[in-house]
Amino acid sequence: MASAQEPRPSGDVDLASGPGRILIAVYGVFAVAATGRSLVQLGIDADRAPLAYGLSLLAAVVYLVATTCLLLGGRRARLVAIVACTVEAVGVVVVGTLSYLATDLFPDRTVWSHFGQGYGFLPLVLPIAGLAWLRHSSPSRVG
């Protein structure tokens, strides 16, 4: 963490510094929220809405992966973070749409239902912000 202030030799912007900190903070909160939610849901009443609860768990894993990769930095973590953010973006749009169209599929809410309405629509904004930051901070040879 002490090296966070020093520029990388390659001119690469550290993923975890500057605006990245905010992103990590928000991702961290969502990782905790989604993990907690899915564990409680699966632990108490897994049969009630297996699809919704399974998706909650998937969302939790994606948030955890994204948080970790943003913290780690480096080329591989960057690639994994791009995949995680993309999965997230697709997930929130698909689940968000389905939760309006096929309400019987989702008897209980997930983090991504109704485009993340229960979380101030942040789940919709977060992957976009994540991808934007990954692109902005990337060394020119990758971005």
């Binding site: 966070a4 500057g18 990245g20 900190r21 903070a25 961290g28 909160v29 409680v40 979380y119 101030g120």
Partner: protein, 121 residues
């Protein structure tokens, strides 16, 4: 759940949030000692709420999902020190911005706690 404690927590969090925004605008980082004192008072209020919330949950007849309720009580308390640590590591306005995220998370936890408590009754 004591509505006055909840009100106090929200009031302190709101005051800290305004202060945080001022620091971000003026580009003051890391946050000053008086600011951390305010966060300390907020943490004490949250600790009181945690203890009071656990007692209230144990005594109430309301239908409340205990695990979720307790995890919100803990999250509200624990998110502050994590945010403060990040703000001290990253000594720029972005680091201070993390504190705003933490305070919003506290407010979100309070809202959820209150919704659960009133819906359960």
């Amino acid at each position: 759940m004591n509505v006055w404690v909840l009100g106090l927590v929200l009031l302190l969090a709101a005051a800290a949030a305004v202060w945080t925004i001022l620091m971000i605008v003026r580009d003051e980082s890391p946050p000053s000692d008086p600011y951390f004192a305010l966060l300390g008072v907020l943490a004490l209020a949250l600790l009181g709420q945690l203890v009071g919330g656990l007692i209230a949950l144990g005594m109430t007849d309301r239908e409340i999902e205990g695990v979720t309720f307790v995890s919100y009580l803990f999250t509200a308390l624990l998110v502050l020190p994590v945010g403060a640590a990040l703000a001290l590591i990253e000594r720029t306005r972005w680091g201070t911005g993390v504190l705003l995220v933490a305070l919003l998370a506290v407010a979100a936890c309070e809202a959820r706690l209150w919704t659960m408590w009133t819906a359960g009754g």
